[in-house]
Each structure stands twice: as C-alpha cells, then as structure tokens.
Symmetry: C2
Subunit: 312 residues, 2 copies
C-alpha cells in the first residue's frame, strides 16, 4: 500500500503480522482513507509485563520486592520464621508464588509503602542500576523487546500517543519508562496504592500508604483507560488474559482498530508459555483472537531479534 | 529580559503581574539560564472553576445537575415533595446550596450515574449547546477567561504541557475542554465516580455507578497530580482555598516555580468575592500568597478583557 507512513520495523520479519500492522497505520493516517483518524484520537495502549519486557521466571516487580525484603531483613529478625518473608529469604521463588495473592500483597505493602513518593522513586531507580536478571544476568531494563521499541517509535512517528496500561505498579514503572520506552510518566497507567498529602517540617510530601487504591488488571484495564485517558484507544497490545478486557474495549470502538496479542513461542531466545502458565496465562484471549481475527505475534516466527544488543 | 519566549498575552494589562509571568517563562526556557527546565518537565496545572471559567452564582456543574433534574422530573412525581429535588424544581438555588454536601451529592448521583460513559458525554455535550447562564444569558463555554486562554496558549508555545486539576467532575469537563481550552481529555484531572466494565448485548460498555471514586479537591489535588501525571508541576494556577495544597505542592518542588492566584475583584465585569464566599472561598490561600510572594492576579486591574467577544 502506497502511503505517507513514517518509520519502519526492521526487527519484524516480513510476513502477515508486520503487514497487518503496517496496513492499519496506512489506513488510519492517509488523509484520503475512509478510515482516517485525526491525530489527537490516535491513542495506542500497551500492556507492559510480557508485552514490552519479559516476565519470567516471575514479574520483575516481584523480584524487586524480594530484593527489597532481603535488604530490609537485618532490621526484621522475625522474618526468618514468618511467611511469606521466610520463603523470600530462603530464595524459594516457588514458595513465594505459592503464598498466593495475600502473600504477594503483604510483600508489596511491606516494600512499597511507608515512605514518600520521592524516596520510593529513588529506591526503584537505584535497584535498576545494580539488579541483574537471575538467569540472563542482564539489567532488567535490557530485557525489553527490540521489535516493540521499534513499534512504539513507529506509532509515534505516525502521530500516535503511546500509553502503558499495566497490572504492575504505576510508581514502579514511572522512574524508568521514559528513558527506556520514550513514554513519559503522565502516559503510564498501572495499579496503585493510596498516598496522603502532608506537610512535614514545613515541606509538602506525599506518603505512600499500605492500602490498595486501584488494580489495573482485567476489567480494571478499560476502567483505568477511561479514568486516565478519557478517550477510547484505536490500537491495543497485550499478551495475556489480563489484557482481554482492554482488547475488547479497544476492538469495540467505532471505526478501525488494531488488536495485537504477543504469543510467547520462543523457548530458545525467550520463553514459551501460554495456557498453563501461572505468569502471563494466555487462554481465553487467544481463543477470542482466533474468533475475531486479531493479530497474534508468533515471537519465534515474527521477531528477528528479541532484546536490544547489550551496550558494550 | 531578552529571550526566545514565544507568544504574547494581549489581554493582560502591562504591570507587575504580567511581568512576573513573562519573567518566569524566560527563566525556565532560556537554555543558558541557571533555572532552565527541560521541555518534558514543563508541567503547568490549572484549576477550572473560578480560574479558567466563572463559577457564580454557583458551580456550573451544579446548574447542569439542576437542569438535568428538571428534565428528569416528569418520571419522578415524588420529587415534588422531596428535598433537595423540590428546591431544584422550585428554582430555589439558595435552598439547594443549603442542602449541604449530602444534598449536592444526591443531586450529582441522580444525574451523573446510571448510564454508560458515552451516554453521559452526549448528555453534557447536548446541554452545553442549549443551556444559557441565568444572569449573563450566554453559553457557559463562552464564560471562560480570555486572558487565561491566552496564558494556556502562551505556556504551550513555550513547551509546557497544560493540565486541568479541578474539584469538578472529570467527565463533566472532558467533552468540551479540548475545543475550548486546547486541553485534551488525557490532560484533565477531576473528581470522579466509579465505573464498571460490562459486556451488554455483545458490546463492551462502561457503566457509571452512584459511588464516589475520587475527590480532587484540597489535599486531593496533589494526590491527583501525583496519580495522573506522576511528575511535579513547575507552574500552578488557582483561585480558592481548595487549590492551596496544589499550590503548596508545586511551590515545594526543587528549582523555579510559578504560583498564581486569580483574585475575583471585578464586580462590574465579573464578580467580586473572596473570604466570605460560599463558592470559591479564598482566605488562607490569600494569606499564604502574601507570605510567600505568590503572584496574585487582581482581575479588575490586570485583565483588559474578561470573556472572549461573543461569536456573531
């Protein structure tokens, strides 16, 4: 299709997937197209874990929380015999995950609340500098998908505003996504805990409270999109059943829409998982993608490269 | 001050107020200034009621709710003898306001909940076309301040991203602020009720629920700024004590900041009110502005024009 489309997707192998994305961009950006969308309405939403960066062997935010527990442990001798802390200190990831939602929430509240918002930002930023993925031994922010970085750029070059809509913590993402993805903090939607405004020693601060404010997952994703953006996206990218409602909401918009699922099929270069995975389970969304002709990225087939080359 | 500052403020009379604004812009945008702020960090936040448009004789959203009650009344004969509905139907604004927070919340929930988000947008947009201000007999969206429209443009021309941070309803503002203020829906923060995602007849919808989600007023304003923007503003504009914490939060940022209070001093061209007003009370924020040398706009002295000229 001849068009004024800007940019390219060099890490996407030629084929139906890349073609579907390129065709959609041409259809909504060509001024004489019947499906033309004015620039302010070109909203694209991306899940983060498993869509923009990896999520195995566990969500990276959980690995962060576990590292924080280890760092805080000297002040908490009682954690040696108290779950889920004991499992963390013994490095038993399976037992940590087996502690279930209640255990994970306890780990998050212990490590993510009780400080000012600025202090938490510094903790996250500091962790990212030194932490390494347990299997790949690279900084977590290196484990972003090169084809998706190109796609973000490509969409923005064609007048799209790109947003993250993640079940992960909004303040866990904001300190690094601008540099890594080119997405500013005001275009990040995620799960959150409450904060309270206080004047401390004459200075205004926001204190992070151990209380859930919003869970940006499943039905929460369209709710979060409505709350933060107030406009219906025309393109949505996810990889798991937690993204299904966001994909449905985007697909239901009047006019053209692009709905994409990233399917983790590459056990050699990344991981292969879908229906039976505890992390990033992909089952009903894959069924619906088949019924509705959504675009399914086969990571092994469609991506020439997975991660950006390490900086030498 | 020589600088590359773009744009101008023709409806602002020459004097200390305009000069303070222009000086600030020059200081944070001149690349060789010690107070230079990179473009992505140039965040400016504006209260809406009383700062960007008028708020007398009552918040325009309350006048909207009262019009909605009148439109819905034929289906609710019981409202004839039930407060606060009776006061609305009798056109007794004083009695409506005297019904207090509980009465006002009941009016809002009755008129703002129970429909899809799209239906509510259409109701607001339709109302704005036909409704007229009871005293000035103009469309409400004409009653925006010409000098503030210029200021919004001026800030954006100098690389600022402009946000609304209002105690008013976020979904009451979003249908019209892009056209009127040039502020897209994703840069609007306000009070909200909860919404729920549902599939109805195979179509995804968001249903507005009669339950408060977030009150974006007083301590809620810095909380809302943190939640939606995730970055500390460097310029903040308000007009009442409900804006005080937003102004404090902005003033407390490291580096230069511009803090502006609009003081309603012009009984002839608009309204004059401050300490003793039930709407837009301005008392402690005015005291703090004096102590901290914030910029106070004297509407009568500083503004050459109040409203844009009516479209002929």
């Amino acid at each position: 299709m001849e068009s004024g489309v800007a940019g390219s997707l060099p890490s996407w192998n030629p084929g139906a997937t890349r073609q579907a994305i390129e065709n959609f961009i041409a259809r909504v950006t060509s001024p004489d197209s019947t499906e033309y969308v004015p620039e302010p309405e070109r909203i694209a939403v991306f899940d983060n874990d498993g869509t923009l960066w990896s999520e195995q062997p566990a969500y990276f935010q959980l690995l962060f929380a576990m590292d924080r527990i280890r760092a805080m442990a000297p002040d908490h001798p009682e954690w040696q015999n108290q779950q889920p802390f004991q499992a963390v200190l013994e490095g038993d990831l399976e037992a940590v995950i087996a502690s279930g939602e209640a255990g994970l929430i306890e780990l998050v509240m212990t490590t993510h609340a009780g400080m000012t918002t600025t202090e938490f930002e510094d903790i996250v930023a500091g962790w990212l500098v030194t932490a390494r993925h347990p299997q790949l031994n690279r900084p977590y922010t290196d484990l972003v998908y090169q084809p998706m970085l190109e796609l973000l750029e490509y969409l923005r070059a064609n007048g799209f505003k790109t947003f993250i809509v993640s079940g992960g913590g909004i303040e866990f993402m904001r300190p690094w996504v601008e540099e890594v993805y080119g997405i500013p903090p005001e275009q990040v939607i995620g799960s959150s805990i409450k904060v309270a405004f206080e004047i401390r020693d004459g200075e205004p601060v926001l204190i992070r409270l151990p209380e859930i404010d919003f869970i940006d997952d499943k039905e929460g994703k369209p709710v979060g999109i409505h709350k933060f953006i107030g406009r219906r996206p025309i393109a949505a990218f996810g990889n798991s059943d937690g993204d299904l409602q966001m994909l449905q909401w985007t697909a239901g918009a009047p006019g053209a829409s692009l709905i994409v699922l990233v399917h983790h099929t590459d056990a050699e270069r990344e991981w292969a998982y879908d229906r039976n995975s505890h992390i990033g389970q992909l089952d009903s969304a894959l069924v619906e993608a088949g019924e509705k002709n959504w675009v399914v990225v086969d990571m092994m087939r469609d991506w020439d490269t997975i991660y950006p080359a390490p900086v030498q």
